[in-house]
Amino acid sequence: MSEAKQTFLLEGASCAGCVRKIEGALAAVAGVEDARVNLADKTLIVHGEASPEACVAAVENAGYGAQPVRVSERERREQQRAEEHRHYRDLLKRCAIALGLGIPLMAWGLLGGEMMVSSPGQQLAWGVVGLLTLAVLIYCGGHFFTGAWRAFLHHNANMDTLVALGTGTAWAFSMLVVIAPQLLPEAARHVYFEASAMIIGLINLGQALELRARGRTSAAVEKLLDLQDPTARVVRDGQEQDLPLEQVVVGDLVRVRPGEKIPVDGTVEDGSSLVDESMLSGEPLPVKKAEGDFLSAGTLNKNGTLLFRAEKVGAETRLAQIIEMVKNAQSSRVPIARLADKISSIFVPTVMIIAVLAALVWFNFGPDPRTAHTLVVLTSVLIIACPCALGLATPMSVMVGVGKGAEYGVLIRNGKALQQASGLDTLVVDKTGTLTEGAPRLTSIETDAAFAGSEKDLLQLLASLEQGSEHPLAEAVLSAAREQDLTLLETRDFEAITAHGVSGVVNGRKLLLGNRKLMARESIDIGEWQARVRELGEKGSTAMYAAVDNKMAGVIAVADPLREDAASAIARLQKLGLQIHMLTGDNEGTANAVARQLGIDSVHAELQPEDKERIVGELQDGGAHVGMAGDGINDAPALARAEVGFAIGAGTDVAIETADVTLMRSSLQGVADAIELSRGTLRNIKQNLFGAFIYNVLGIPIAAGVLYPFTGALLSPVIAGAAMAFSSVTVVSNANRLRWFKPEETA
């Protein structure tokens, strides 16, 4: 039976009669070898080369509906891997055949065997060898010739052109020697069949090795793909069934048992469990999930059973989007490659011109045998030039570098971001949510002697007032009240006064909570409390004045705790040579206190959201290369303005779509990882570009014979072929060294 297999999802099929009807309809379609309906999961599997449109039409004519099932990314990659493996084996086979002829011929020459044609017997013998070499050129190197010819017709020239011209010229010259030796001077009647065969063999070998090495460059995407299970346990019509992932649709109920991976994105409807999200968020501790919580595909269910409703499937899941982003970034261009790109675009015709010029020089001015020297130089120059090394230098490193980033939870948007991150000298960091947890806590509450009541009473009043507020600090007051089991009182006339605070009436008492400006506006004497507020601010808390019935009642202080690793991340970034600027809407005292704790020198406090972008711009105007780290939502303009925007958003969709670099874990360490990685990748690209340039810049003149006056010998075309074949392998292997990159934190 044919290997070609297609799967369709059926509509309207419900009984054995339907099965017969559909299978019968398919049997009449040209190219269908076998068609089987599976009623349990309502699928149709068709073997054969029939087009999917014809199959769908046949099912529809039979009175049912059908749509092709998407091939999963995993299946596709498996197919591609199989295809690559086939190609690899094919290249090795061609290499073995070509070298099987080339090596004995070369050995014959090296061991002193006659390579000249000077008698009819030699003509006959070399004629047979020539035909054998032609067979090798056609079978093992035919693709070079067809590629060169098609490229030629399109006014294009590529590596195939060089290989075909080099080996073709050597073979054609040798055949001329065999057929009509009298046309050539006696000293030039040398055959080069071994060169043609050896070059074809070596280049096939080089391509095979390159294919192998390239396979390793995409290991990161493979790892991400492996996060997905191929099937999901779907509950349909009260029955559980294991379905291929591609057949899960939005709205399906999916059951996940302990130890299983979440197959698609969705929301929990029943059950509770701990879910390990470290692969997506970098958060090492499992997260408790219960009814109403969101689950991401690829995460691991630890201990309970969950029943959830599928909301995003296939390419829509967060994991799929991450994979897509990594793949896109892996194949994007890097500005540093622009010069290499320009050279690549004119490389092959330029080499052809150099080869002709070098051959003419040898023909006109070279020592005898001139014709033989001319041919050797022409062939060697064509063969040694390697556009592949030049073309591969950047993409291979970007591929490995971006993939490595994904392994450490650093999603890099494109090659440009990767390059720019390596050149940053300034990092602007938003305090809230980046240096701090982003969830403020009540740290202190103190009452005035004039307030008739305890601290608890004041907290109850203030929490009641804040229940109408959406300010992040309000949440701190409310959660403190919840912790103390305080009952919230009735509130009316709530008002949020921009840049001042809030006011309202709680249980008939007029309350004010805010800064000094609010108290001044309402003519409330803050007395000694100003010093206390300053003191609290210096410790890193945000303190606010509270007034009840137009009299000072006390102060409350709220602080957003620093992230555990913020200080070490800042130290690491400073060690990388970055100057850190902290941005915050807090007052100067609080901001300075936080900056002191973290060792940050430059603080911009009391900022409005729109000021952040302005500050990034000012730093850039001063000549700095500025990166900005923020949560990806509130800082969007500043992130966009910076040369590289790092979104510490734990992979929210918005952040993934907009930021240059998205950090999957909520830690500034990710910024340091990204910068270290980008510097490592850029270093690798430069090594590759340097190597490729130097190889061609030295190799082509050597092949043209510039060393002849010193060595008295020309470079053999066979050695030129070996050098060319392995130059691109070297580039790919060097890029693969990046796979061992480890950020300093984990090294």
């Binding site: 086939r86 194949s331 494109n414």
Partner: protein, 124 residues
């Protein structure tokens, strides 16, 4: 006499290389069939060339191109539109859809990673 012929042939060959690969090739005048509307065709990736290699699209609207890769060599694995910041991995012996964003009028080259496969997208 032979020297003269060889030298003349060599110089003519250089002139031919310049003319064929850089002069006529760059203007696109020699393209037998001329540019082809991109959405109406499957672009074949085979034997070192995109076929057709000169395609057109209307300005201001997003489009989907279809690439059929028949060359298993790694050179053909990716197609890049550097100016549109679009790239795609092409599956062997399959059609891969490549989404292009809306773009203004202009010429946008597309290539493989190594710039050996070369094509031109013209947005009018």
């Amino acid at each position: 006499m032979l020297t003269l012929i060889v030298n003349l042939a060599g110089l003519l060959l250089i002139a031919a290389i310049v003319w064929w690969f850089w002069l006529t090739g760059r203007t696109g005048d020699a393209a037998a069939a001329g540019p082809v509307p991109a959405t109406s065709v499957e672009i074949l990736v085979k034997d070192g060339v995109y076929d057709p290699d000169h395609i057109t699209l209307p300005a201001g609207s997003a489009a989907t191109l279809q690439f059929r890769r028949e060359d298993p060599s790694p050179c053909a694995e990716y197609v890049l539109f550097p100016d549109l910041e679009v790239s795609a991995q092409l599956a062997v012996h399959e059609v891969t859809e490549v989404q292009l964003p809306a773009a203004g009028p202009g010429k946008y080259p597309f290539t493989c990673q190594m710039q050996m496969y070369r094509g031109l997208l013209e947005i009018k």
